[in-house]
Amino acid sequence: MNDDAIHHFAIETFDLTRRFEKMVAVDHIDLRISYGEVFGLLGANGAGKSTVIKMLTTLLTPSSGSADVGGFDIIKTPDEVRRSIGYVSQLLSADGALTGYENLRLSAKLYGLSKSDRIYRIADALSFMGLTDYAHKLVKNYSGGMIRRLELAQAMLHRPAILFLDEPTIGLDPVARHMVWDRLLTLRHDYGMTILITTHDMEEAETLCDNLAIMHSGKISIVGNPAKLRAGLGENASMDDVFAYFAGGSIHESGAFREVEQTRHTARRLG
């Protein structure tokens, strides 16, 4: 994987586009995300974040353009892409009628883990996510934070190179949220996982992500690391300001357009 990092990106999109009837949900985007990076995708509701993730995870076919994930073309080699990725959807998707252990066992089987790997990795994932004591309880009795951690456990069982997390901390209390962040950073540290995350939480974007892309009606407004993005807007700019500036419709009406364009170029070089 380290060798790859020199030649490839973990995720690279080429004019990636998706239309729903006339509406262009994702509009010719070009993104490059390096191996080992935690990359945040921000944008207002309906900006197209989930649609990008669905295309990159092979759930949705692009209308035009393409993308490589883990070095594999999402259109030509979806199976290889699926083997290289883990995905936690925006919804709480663990099966409530099953126990945590049963949820994990199903994932392990669908990912084709051998029996010995399965037993070891399930135990490992449970303890890593602090769920060992709840393994045999029905998921419908879990708290939101526990469900999220179970889903992360499911997504990491097969040791994917790249994790896609669509709003992983939505609806979680601060303690649960920090726990998820901590687990994600440990995953990155221990396995060098690349993580693509969407969020509406600016604190999350800033503490967790090496780089951010802000989307606005299907287009990427800007890419860059959080500190640079703030600095580019002004001395005391917060992430909220950055978000409001790039996620709203104001870019082209704004007086500071040139300044922003400048930042954008800088950010691209840095990103």
């Binding site: 669905k54 092979t58 995905y87 959807s89 919804l91 998707s93 009628a97 199903l106 994932s107």
Partner: protein, 256 residues
């Protein structure tokens, strides 16, 4: 092939776990066939209004009611699929490298096992009502095979509809719209011979008719079937395979 079976078995396993953990559904679904057999069956048997040959009317409709209960519970499988879509379960299954065909086939076979439980319930009711049942192991095996096939057909059909309509409300409407006509345009509660011509034509292309025909020959002593078992099973198998192909194509669109 081995991978296909292994993955399908994994799906069946969790579906069965869920079913056994929450048997209320099995119990509530047993009420309807009970009413059909005890009330409708007995009342109609008294009128001698329908000529079922040497077979008593109750024995005549017992296979029909089994098929009906398989149809009604399988056809609402689509609701569960839409539910899973709304919860994001479908997405999780589809990002895995599992073969799309094993996901769909696993669901169909799980519906089949549900049918097996319904079969047991109906045998029990029929036994209490003194219907003459054939209990040779080979016959029981053939009954279970046809029930699993039938349930697989209707569950897969239901999955296809779920993929097309995508919302629960629309599904409910269509589900009602399809099941009742399918039931009445079949040989479940009256023989093909007494149907008006137009209805008989519809009944002949209704897969439910072939399930009932096979069951009628197999389940009850003295039961007569119109088609040979080869025809009954070939038709069911063919319909099942065609529906599976369509479902495998459509299932991934649920995650869009």
């Amino acid at each position: 092939m081995q991978r296909f079976l292994y993955e399908s078995a994994a799906i069946v396993e969790v579906e069965l776990l869920k079913l056994l953990r929450d048997p209320t559904e099995i119990i509530s679904r047993a009420v309807q066939p009970l009413l059909w057999l005890m009330v409708f069956g007995q009342v109609l048997a008294r009128t001698h209004g329908i000529n079922t040959g040497s077979l008593s009317y109750l024995a005549f409709i017992t296979p029909g009611i089994l098929a009906q209960s398989v149809l009604f519970s399988s056809i609402f499988y689509g609701i569960a699929i839409i539910w899973e879509r709304d919860l994001g379960v479908v997405h999780k299954l589809l990002v895995s490298p599992a073969m799309r065909s094993s996901l769909v086939f696993g669901k169909a076979i799980a519906a089949g096992f549900r049918g097996v439980i319904q079969t047991a319930v109906i045998y029990f009711i029929a036994f209490l009502m003194h219907v003459g049942l054939r209990l040779e192991p080979l016959i029981i095996f053939a009954v279970l095979t046809s029930v699993i096939l039938g349930a697989g057909i209707f569950a897969t059909f239901s999955l296809i509809i779920a993929c097309i309509v995508k919302t629960r409300e629309r599904f409910m409407g269509i589900g009602q719209l399809l099941t009742m006509p399918m039931f009445f345009a079949s040989n479940a509660i009256y023989p093909l011979e007494i149907m008006p011509n137009w209805l008989r034509v519809i009944a002949q292309i209704n897969p439910l008719t072939y399930l009932i025909d096979a069951l009628r020959g197999l389940m009850v002593t003295g039961g007569a079937h119109i088609h040979s078992y080869t025809i009954d099973f070939s038709v069911m198998l063919m319909v099942f395979v065609i529906l599976l192909f369509i479902a495998v194509k459509l299932y991934p669109t649920l995650a869009e």
